[in-house]
Amino acid sequence: MGEPNLYQLTIHEAHQLLASRQLSSFELTEAVLARIPQVEPQLHAFVTTTHDLARNQAREADERIAGGDMSPLTGIPVVIKDNMCTKGIATTCSSRMLEGFVPPYDAAVIEKLNALGAVLVGKSNMDEFAMGSSTENSAFFITNNPWDISRVPGGSSGGSAVAVAAGETIYALGSDTGGSIRQPAGFCSVVGLKPTYGRVSRYGLVAFASSLDQIGPLTKDVTDCALVMNVISGHDPRDATSVSHPVPDYTRSLIPDLDGIRIGVPQEYFVAGMQPEVEAVMRSAIGKLVELGASVEWGVSLPSTPYALAVYYIIAPSEASANLARYDGVKYGFSAQDAEGMWDAMEKTRQHGFGPEVKRRIMLGTYALSAGYYDAYYLKAQRVRTLIRREFDQAFEQFDALVTPTSPTVPFGIGEKVDDPLQMYLSDVCTLPINIAGIPGLSLPAGFVDGLPVGMQILGRPFSEELLLRIGFAYEQATPWHERRPPL
């Protein structure tokens, strides 16, 4: 293998070159900005690119580096999912409703990145308001999977995953409500982490389902994931659900063996609808974990898992139905003008501002909370949620981590599931329970089926991100998957 192109660098590789002055942030940024137009016509990962800002930030970063003020993310290009508020830069959630909306404030994670001299190259495409599993629900355009452009990249953070996989950025941030970081990470063969709920501030993340949403990194390898977590984690007084648990140096847990680590494999994640080839990849990946020193027990049971889908699709839409009530055409965003009276204006604004999946979920959530149905749907789901959490708690008394596939299948074809919402919902079946329980989940490349990526998901107890990263790192060091690049 020859010298990699600059845009293919990881954070830690680029940081080495920047620190040793072999590379400037400006050169690195230019390489990434030059890569974008080469592949973007096939991929459509970006809603907005911020060339001018990126060049300015790169110059500033170079000055900081010259002044010796440097951290691992200084001068490194990043892409942000378009549901995190960026001051002065349009933040659309890939929705007509927020087309042209320019926030007057930065999300907490953006403040943190800016404070370190990160370089923003653009805002990435997503399923509208993060509702979807394929990025086909973007109101603007579909994003294509770089491994096969006839297939979906997963979602809802599809644009972020694609940008990382295709070298349109060095790393990205996504958000994960039911798998929206991990599932596209798996489909695009990159590393994606949904942190423990409360680990990363949600302030400035446009809410989909408040009790499930969490921001996390999408990176080219596990080391990068640890480096990003070092920065974005931590307590924020503006987010009452953010936890003041100490933030470790996540890179210190990256050791290449798994001696003494107890891993369980829950049987409920290997059932009907699973592609046999994916199962085969998983078996071989789990075999590798054993080789690395872990003890693995198959057949662990989390019996409430089959209910997670229903629980999720009641709780998330219920919360969303309230979170999306603010889009009424009065204060910001799309506002229907051909209306008679206030109610008509509000109803038309929402009719034409929201796409079909968003409307479907608002309807579903409104129904689940409405008089006469609250107990049977919302409250019932909250009770089953308790059971799902308890089962994870019990499993983690016996095991340090659980391993599952990230998705039951390889990336599916564009258009394949758009007409059947329930089939689409099923593609998140392995990732949803993790948000319901609030625990962390890491997805990393585990192999390929006919050139299409398969992701492995590693789960742990709350605030066990260090352990998940250690397992991921050991596996990554022992396998070649993370080094493969899509054929573009």
């Binding site: 009790s211 659900t241 889908l309 139905s321 008679e340 409307k359 309807m363």
Partner: protein
């Protein structure tokens, strides 16, 4: 769980989602189908199980009563679809 047309219409009204008859019919079919799949939950015995509304077991998160500057008026109004006299303008609220 089969939804009736009237139920779907009522939900759309609660959610303030303007909808064509065609949309309402599509919602009716799809939501009925989805709600049917939720019926599995009725198999779960949750008699003594408390509900979980949040993913973290935090409590008592409050802040001190301190004032910070508000945002400049121009920034508050910058995204306003319609404005007048420093206010957001809307169609008549009173009938």
């Amino acid at each position: 769980m089969k939804l009736s047309h009237e139920e779907v219409e009522h939900i759309a009204l609660l959610a303030r989602l303007g909808s064509s008859e065609e949309e309402l019919e599509r919602f009716r079919e799809q939501l009925s189908h989805i709600l049917e799949s939720f019926e599995v939950l009725q198999q779960v015995d949750t008699a003594d199980v408390p509900p979980t509304a949040q993913s973290v077991d935090l409590q008592d998160v409050v802040r001190a009563d301190e004032v910070s500057p508000s945002l400049p008026h121009s920034q508050i109004m910058a995204n306003a679809p319609q404005q007048e006299a420093g206010c957001f303008r809307v169609r008549a609220v009173l009938e």
